[in-house]
């Protein structure tokens, strides 16, 4: 909360992006609030991310675009808490997320953030039910098994997945089924924040439209950050943010992201 107060006090310094956002999100609580955020993989290297201020309101669906290597996934990792900012603050759902301990961040992420990966990234040797229930287990919520099972079946119905796939191994599913199971896993704990990282990059236009309709339908009131380099998808979202606007100082060299990737691999 201190972080939020501090950020409020520095409201006048926010850039044009956040001002535009304020108009859109009037009347809503803030889901994501980023201030003076900097991140670099090594002490010597220049920052990959340098965002003065950025806000996303609760329930807002934001499209985040940028070319490959612009720092999109790094920003998502920072929002997930799998990376720690070099400098600055991130507040999620009114919690000083970047100030939490690693363990607290893991728990917060498990309970409040759903993630859909680019490659869907199901654990191949686990069944569909085990993949989804793993997310329930790590969230350590007090939801009963009956309620959790009911929620799972409801999600499968909504995602048009037959119930027999529950017992199938993840790697035995088609790409489309894997995609929907990944969404079910991301939503099983009713996350308030949904982070989706380029899930449509391998899909044709029809499949992409079908996927987006489904995602928007099941995401409901969750706040969503959807990352893609395909600007044609902008129309599905409440707002579009580009990495070049969010982090202008780090996006003037196109190859920096590649360096970042290498640095991350080294780390």
């Amino acid at each position: 909360m201190n972080t939020i107060n501090k950020n409020n006090s520095t409201h006048s310094q926010r850039n044009a992006v956040s001002e535009e956002h304020n108009a859109v999100s009037e009347g809503r609580n803030t889901a994501i609030e980023v201030s003076n955020l900097q991140f670099s993989y090594t002490k010597e290297s220049p920052p990959i991310i340098d965002i003065k201020a950025w806000q996303v309101s609760q329930g807002e669906h934001v499209f985040l675009s940028g070319p490959s290597g612009s720092g999109k996934s790094t920003l998502l990792n920072l929002l997930c808490g799998t990376l720690t900012p070099t400098q600055g603050d991130i507040a999620l759902l009114a919690q000083p997320f970047s100030a939490l301990s690693n363990r607290q961040r893991d728990k917060f992420r498990a309970r409040n953030i759903g993630v859909v990966f680019q490659q869907f990234n199901l654990i191949p040797y686990l069944s569909v039910a085990q993949n989804i229930n793993a997310a329930v287990y790590f969230a350590s919520t007090n939801v009963s098994k009956t309620a959790s099972d009911a929620k799972l079946r409801h999600l499968l119905d909504k995602l048009q997945l037959p119930s027999h796939v529950l017992h199938a191994k993840a790697d035995a599913l088609s790409i489309g089924q894997q995609q929907r199971v990944a969404i079910a896993r991301a939503l099983i704990n009713d996350p308030q924040l949904l982070i989706v990282d380029e899930p449509t990059s391998a899909l044709d236009t029809d499949a992409r439209d079908s996927f987006m309709s489904l995602l928007k339908d099941v995401a409901g009131e969750s706040t969503m950050i959807f990352v893609s380099h395909d600007k044609a998808m902008e129309s599905y979202f409440d707002r579009h943010c580009s990495m070049s606007e969010l982090s202008p100082s780090t996006n003037h060299i196109k190859t920096r992201g590649d360096e970042a990737t290498k640095a991350q691999e080294r780390a």
Partner: protein, 435 residues
């Protein structure tokens, strides 16, 4: 859930997991086998004889005397003359005396010449007396009492006649065919070398070697009236003549070994000293407990070495386990990233890898216990017939539990290497870094 993930992960890598499981199972089995044999040999040793305070024989060495008299192994010592035996018998400290005459065999089993005092006074295990499974002790000079294993393996029953052979070889060309012994009794199973021995009367044994000699003087000091010199094998007549046969009444010229029971055990050391210092006939008296301890010390060194080597083999197998887990780490980076983003902390990843390692070791240990139990059960007859090792229950004791716990501890330690690798990876794992 973590154990489910660990089990499914191992099932996914089943070929390497099974090979690792096999190597750990074999190494734990080896270690358990060595430990069981070590423990059982020790138990077998200590239960072989009890209640005997001194063993007296010709001077030959403590171990030789012990092995030949108690374990029926090795070459018996030169005999003790009757006058020395009589002197021992008349000693005020001596409560009872068992003479043993060694050196013959029956179809590979040792023949021991003795008297009924053996069945009265010899004790094994926790001061257990010998009991008859069938028949009775010696009833006439050419009576024999056989051990349970002999009765079972050779199919003998009370009343059968057997021929003993001169010498200790399993095949002898010098059989005492004209002196068949009649089985008067079968000793109940003891789990000691008694089960594999043929007990005959001193009188019968001496007659078989030298011809008949009718008890001139009792070893117990009684005089015998009968000093006939003719040797006639009219065993039925013997039985009729001696309704209750007194095997102690016969006086042998010499015996191989004498076991002594004392009125007061505290005098054992004193009597041992007296016997060893005797100037009439050079004799050697040993305390069975001390001799057993010395024998065990020699055996114990070899078995400690074997135990150490087996332990090293287990360590190698566990390092193999850690190597297997480390080798699979690269292909698990994506899995680690996924687990991290759905809420698993780095410590959870560390725990997951350790659970996998522990699972493999626990399954291996369970398989090993089953394998060793089966193996020992199958080899039980062979171990007892070839090595005189009598396996007793329980097969797995405290030391087996300690070994399993130590192995689990070692598994925990060696699995730290891949587990820490997963932990470190978990610290940096995130979404695909392709931005």
């Amino acid at each position: 859930m973590l154990s489910t993930i660990a089990i499914e992960s191992l099932k996914r890598r089943k070929t390497t997991a099974i090979l690792t499981l096999l190597s750990i199972t074999i190494s734990i089995s080896l270690l358990l086998c060595v430990d069981i044999i070590r423990t059982q040999v020790k138990t077998s040793f200590t239960r072989t004889v009890s209640g005997v305070d001194l063993i007296v024989g010709a001077p030959s060495g403590q171990l030789n005397l012990l092995l030949s008299s108690v374990f029926n192994i090795g070459t018996p010592t030169k005999g003790i003359e009757y006058k020395s035996i009589a002197a021992l018998q008349s000693n005020k400290q001596v409560s009872w005396l068992i003479p043993l005459s060694l050196g013959d065999t029956h179809r590979g089993f040792r023949v021991v010449g003795t008297t009924n005092s053996f069945f009265d006074h010899f004790k094994y295990g926790d001061m257990q007396s010998l009991e008859m499974a069938a028949g009775s002790t010696f009833t006439q000079p050419l009576s024999t009492v056989i051990g349970a294993d002999i009765a079972k393996s050779l199919g003998y029953k009370v009343g059968d006649k057997i021929i003993i052979s001169h010498g200790l070889g399993s095949v002898s060309f010098n059989n005492h065919d004209d002196h068949p012994f009649t089985i008067s009794g079968i000793v109940k199973k003891t789990g000691t070398p008694v089960d594999k021995a043929v007990y005959v009367t001193l009188q019968g044994l001496e007659e078989a070697h030298t011809g008949p000699k009718h008890s001139p003087t009792s070893m117990l000091g009684r005089k015998s009236a009968d000093k006939a010199n003719e040797h006639e094998h009219e065993h039925d007549e013997h039985t009729k003549e001696h309704a209750v046969y007194n095997s102690e009444a016969f006086t042998p010229e010499s015996v191989s070994v004498v076991m002594l029971g004392l009125k007061h055990r505290v005098t054992a050391l004193q009597l041992q000293y007296q016997i060893n210092q005797s100037k009439k006939e050079p004799l050697m008296a040993i305390l069975p407990g001390m001799a057993l301890a010395e024998l065990w010390q020699i055996m114990g060194n070899v078995e400690s070495l074997l135990l150490g080597l087996s332990g090293l083999i287990v360590i190698c197998a566990l390092i193999g386990l850690a190597t297997m887990l480390l080798a699979t780490m690269r292909e698990r980076y994506q899995e680690i990233a996924v687990l991290r983003t759905i809420g698993a902390g780095p410590f959870t990843l560390l725990l997951l890898i350790q659970i996998e390692a522990m699972l493999l070791t626990i399954v291996s240990a369970a398989l090993s216990l089953g394998l060793v139990a089966g193996l020992m059960s199958a080899l039980k007859p062979w171990l007892s017939s070839t090595y005189g090792l009598f396996l007793s229950s329980p097969l797995f004791g405290q030391s087996s539990v300690i070994i399993i716990l130590l192995i689990l501890g070692c598994t925990y330690l060696v699995s730290l290497f891949p587990a820490v690798a997963a932990y470190r990876r978990g610290l940096h794992a995130g979404l695909n870094a392709n931005s």
